[in-house]
Every structure is written in C-alpha cells, then in structure tokens.
Amino acid sequence: MIEVLLVEDDAPTRWRLQDALGATGECAVTAVATVTEARTHLCEAVPRVLLTDLQLPDGHGLDLIRETRQRHPETEIMVISILGDEESVIAAIRQGATGYLLKDAFPTDIAATVRDLVAGHSPISASIARFIVRRTQVQPAAAPAPQGLNTARLTPREIDILWGIAKGFSYADIAGHLGLSRQTVPGHIKNIYRKLEVNTRGEAVFEALQQGLIRL
C-alpha cells in the first residue's frame, strides 16, 4: 500500500482525488484540508507520497513541501494544480516537489500518476518542460534568471530531453533521437527536478519572495 497524505481545502476536489486514489486499492489516503492538519499528521506518520494544493486556508502549500522535503527526504511530493501552469508547478519543484497533478485529471490518470511517481517516474508536462528550457536559453550574463530558476546545472542531454518533451515527442521518440533507453527518460526527468530544487531555506524564501511566487 502506498500511504498518501492529501492536502486540499476544496471539499469536492478532495473527495474526488481521494476516490480516484482509493479506487484502485493501491493507496491508503489520508485527506486533510489545512496546513496545520497536515503538519499534525506528518508528526505522527511519514507518508510515502504527499499531494498538496498550494493555496490553503491557513498557509501556503510551498511551506509544507519544503518542510516535508527537509524532514522526510524519502517522501515523494506532488503539487496539485488547477491549470498545470508553470508558476505553481515550478515553484513547487524548486521547493522539492517531483511531480504535479491536475485537479480535473481523469481518475485513472490520477492513480497512474501517483503509481509512476513511487516507481521513480516523475511526470512532466510540455509546458513545464518548455518553461525550463526557455530559461536555459537566457544568456548567462543576464543571470539571475528571470524566475530565479537555476538551470545552470542541467546537462546538454537533459536540456535535449526537455526540448523533446516541450515539442510533444514521446519518451520513445526522445530516447530514439538521443540514443537512450526508453526506460531511462523518466529517471532523467526526476534528476532535472532535483537539480532545479533550491538548496537552503533562506535562499528559497528569498528567491520566492523576489520572484513574487510567495505572497505574504
């Protein structure tokens, strides 16, 4: 069983996600609506997967992501996003998330995404990949990058993979183009997420504030 902590304040959405995850029988889901509840739960048990919304009534999901990432490195973190837009997803990735989930995704897709994440396969969307590779194109002289996204550590191969995804190529196509095994592509994506993560709390808050990603 995969223990999942779901943090979502909108009740219908929470029920929906809970149902979708529970339906396959693979996940044991704990659903909470606030950051405080989530913190309390995290003190008691360490989930395998944390699914969290960003805008929560008593705090910001990014704080929860960062805390969990620091205290429980083994926990896989996914952000729940309405639009799958880069701003929220990238901000979450920078705090330690390694995936995202669309709130209106079809139930089978929701379960599959969590399963894949536990198996080490981080999902990435074309628009997220596009956002990251476009940051790599900004000349080094113009650093720090507009969104405070440090892409300097990405290898050329990783950037090639991101380009492929951004342009809608399948993993198989990308693997074929780059001479990789199809199975290694998702691992590369997780590496990419890890490289985009900010390392210290201070740095993260400062950058997030600067970029307007956190509204205080």
Binding site: T13, I82, K103, F106, S127, R134, K167, G168
Partner: protein, 639 residues
Amino acid sequence: MSTAAAEPESRQAAPVGAPRLALRLLLYLALQALVVVGCLGLAALPTPEPPPRWQLTEAWLEPPGAAVSLPHHHSARFTMADPPRYGLAFDRPAGLPEEPWSVLLPRFTNGVAVAVNGVEILDSRRNPAANRPDRSSPEIAVIPSSLLREGRNELTVRLFVWGPLTGFLDRIHVGPDAMLRPAHDQRVLLFVTLPIVLAAWQSILAVILGMMWLMRRHEPEYGALAASMALGVAQTFISAPSGQSLYAGLNAVLIASAPLESAFAVVFLVLFLGLRLPRAAALLFLPGLIITVTGLLGGPGPVRILYLLLGPFTVMFCLVLAAVLIALVFLRRRDTITLVLGSAVTVVLFFWAFDILSILDVASDRRIFFSRISYSAMVIAVGIGLTWRFARALNQVDSFAGSMVTLVREAEDKLRASLARDEERARAIALSSERSRLMRDLHDGLGGQLVSIVALSERQQAAPIGEAARAALKDLRLVIDAMDDIGGDLMLALGAWRERIAAQLRAHSIALAWRVLTPQGLPVHRELRPGHVIQILRLLDEAVTNAVKHAGAGTITVEIETVAATDGDRGRISVRDDGRGFDAEAGSAAPPLAGRGLANMRQRAERCGGQLAIVSGPEGTRVTLDLPSRFADLDAPRV
C-alpha cells in the same frame, strides 16, 4: 614623429655593454669612412673638359707684369677699381675651314671681361648666374669672325674680384666652337641647371612640408625643415647684387643664408630623432642672424666679409654637431633611418670640408664647389623620405578609418539587432506578466470553481455538467497556453496540446498516434502570435472533438510535417481518424454538428492565412491544415 621615436625607445631598453658599444661605434665609423672614400672618388672625377689642344695656360699678368700659368690664384679680394689683366696669345692656323671660334672660361671668380685683339667680346658680370662665386658657372663667347686673324691673336682677360673669395682664373680654351661647346654645356648642366632643378624640388617640398607643419603644429620638425628648404630655394634663385641698395643687402643676406639654413637643419634633425631640443640651440641661429642684420644695415660688402668669417665655420659646426648627434642616436637605437641620415650628413660634411679647403687654395686647383649640390640632394632625400613616411601614415589612417567604419557599421548592426531583440523581449515580458496575472486570477477564481463543478458532477452522476466544466477548463488552459512566448515555434504549442488531447482521448479509450514526419517538425515563424496559436489549436481541437463525437474512431492520428512549396517551407498538420466518415460536400448526408464545426474550422484556417482540406470517406476522415509561409497579421483590417 612620436611613433618613430617610440619604437626604437623600446629597443634601447636592453642594456648594451661597453665593448659592444665600442664595436658598434667602430662599425658606424667604418661605414662613414667608406662613405668618405666614395665621396673622394666622386670629387676626383674629371670635370668636363674640351680637348687639351685648345687649352691656353701661359699668360702675362699685369700688374705686376709677370708671366703666370693658368689656373692662377690671384691673392686680391677686391679688384673692381683696377682689375688685373691676363694677356694670352693663341694661333689660328691657316687653312682651317670657316667655322666659328669661341673662348671658353670654365671657371673664374668673380667676374671676367674678355677681349680679343683689343675688342671686348664678353663681360660675365652681366650674367647673374656667373656672378655667384658659389656656383661654378662657366662662360663661353663666340669670337666674331671679323676679329679673328689668321695666325697669332691676342686675348685679354680682366679679372674682377669683389669678395668674399680671392680671385681665380682657370685654364682658358680658345678654339672651334663645336669643340668647346659640349664641355661648356655639360658644365652648365652640372653647375647651373642642376642646382636650379634641385632648388625647384626643394621649393615644392618646402611648400608641402610647410603645409604639413601648418596643419600639424605639434610636429615642428616639419616647419624647421620647410624653413631650411625655403632658405635654400631663395639662396639659389636670388641673383648676385651689385651696388649698395637695401635690396642688394637683402640679396647678399639670402646668398649668405647657409648658416641659418644649417641651423634649421640641425633643429629638424634633433626633433626628428626624438631628442629634446635644448634652449642653447637658439645660439646656432646667432651667426646667421648677425650676418642678416649686418646685411640689412651695411649692404653686400660687409656681409661678404662677415660671411667669410662666420659662415663656413657655422655650417661646419652644425654639420659636425649633426654628425655627432646622429652617431650617438645610432649607438643607442641602431636603426636604418639614423644610419642613412648619418651617411648623408657625412657626404655633406665631406664636400663642405672639400670646398673650404678649395677656397683656402689647399686642396683643389679647380675651385669647383660641390657642397651646395650635395646639400640640396640630401635635403631633398630627407624631404622625400618624410613625405613618403607621411603618406604611409595617411594610408594607415585610411585603413584605420576603413576598419573603424566597418567596426562602427558592425556595432550599429549589433545595436539595431539588440534593439530589436530588446523590443521583442519587452513584448515577451509584457505578454508573460499579463499571462501570469491572468493565470493567477483564473487559478484563484474560475479555475477552482470549474474543478469543483467537475468533482461535484462526478459525485452526483451529472456527467453532462462535468463534461461542460471540463471543456471549460480545457479551454482555459488553451487560452493561457497560447499566450506563452513560444518564439514562433508552433511545435512548442503542439506539445502541450498533445497532452491535453491525449488525456481526453484516454478517457474515451481512443488511441492517439502522434507522428512527426520531418525531423524539425514545423518551420519556425517569427511572426507567429498568440492569436494565431489559439486559432490553430482550436481548429485542431475541433477536428479531434468531431472525430471523438461522430466518427466512432479507434485511433486518431496526428501528423506533423514540413513540405517544400514555391514560396518557402510550409508546415502541414493533419488529423486523421479511422471512423465512419461523412460527406463533406453534400450537405444532406452531413451529421448535424459537422456543418457548423467545419465552417468554424475553415474560418479559423482562413484567419491565419492557412488552407484547410477535409477528406472524408468510408475509411475515415482526414483534416489537413496547410499553414501559410507567413502568418497574416491578425490585427490588420481584413480585406
């Protein structure tokens, strides 16, 4: 000449040991000795002489009434009142063909009056060139045939001397004009015409250098050399004066300008070699100025005397000074220009010494002066060298200017490109921030509510509501996605679209086959704007939705490729299903929704400037969108 000075300066930096210095000095002196030997050879060359048969050397000088042999040095410096008379005799053999005879006087100082059988046929004082003691002008006069007797004839030469030199009369030739004239002409060419030619050159260079100095005041060496040359020119063209007017005095001053000239030349040399010009250098001009003042106040006579006292030695001093300076500079720098200059100064120095010895009746019995010619030649050489160097500098400036122009043009292009880039970037930033704002607003409001509707409708089994809400969410994502700056690469928009329709098709258990047929997918269009992207994506959405709703397809295939067209590469996107198909042409058989959907799709394609082709048959429907080679401006009024 700062550049010229700077370069050897660096060479100078290397310390040179005393033995090496001595060796270098020895080499320099040896070279100058070689130059002197060469000059000796030149000086020893015979001057043009007529055949010796017509030469007269025996004369009777009165006063004092004694036989002398020519060439003869007369010790007097002034004989204008009572010139000494040289009586000579020559024979005109009988039976010679009737041809004119002439008297040739190759060299004399200062003037002669020649009479044949008591009748005067020549007075050199009327020839200004001949009156210049510094020029070795010859004189020739045809003897009127009526004067000429067969057998013995008498020739009388009166020698006028007016200083500054003592009197001198070279051998006299009397004979057929045809025999004598070639030697005369050669001497005129050598000693009269050549100095004038050189002076003409000098005048041109003086003007050029003067202009250069005027335009480049920070290089006074040009001015000094121009002054030196101008004086030399004046000295050449001024005629010898007679009488005691101010004009005569001025003339005398100009003829005696050699000390000033040499002082200017030394100043030029010092500046040219990049040395510091000491204040004491002004003293060099003192003798010249004294002569000038004397000339203006006292007239020609005193000038000549003073010139004789001061002139040659001032010039000599200047020349020696120049030679020493050059030698010292050469020891430090060892460059070719200094060496050439040094050799030139040695040449002038040699001839100047040679001429002084000749004046003092020590060296030569011919009293032919070379220093003026050698000096003019040297100054011209220097002037040519300078002008050449200046022209070369101009060329460098030209090429520098040329490269500057290229650089400026490149910089301009870069600037223009960067401005365009900045503009593009500013536009992208504005778009991106607007998109962010919109996204946040939608995220916080509409998006969340739609998600809630989806969730609620699923829970209460109200599928149509959920579907509508989901469609609204999808469209929301489409709008936001289309606003992203994709840099004209439609593939980036299609990448996100693929994800959306893949999820949609998965829910309907329809397989999606995504095929990119050309490696780069679609061509990049810089003019592609969010408006175009929305039109294209909605068109494709509609094609997919039609296939999902009406075709009953098992697989939808999306093919992306670039096709070559006459007006460049065009992109082509086609959506194909393996469903039932419909008849696009005949309205009657068309399913109710298709008509409206197809019209919409056509309109969208048209707005982008693309072409839509729909083929439907029993084996499925194929919608092919041919993108334009250039996207139409959506804001422009549509025709």
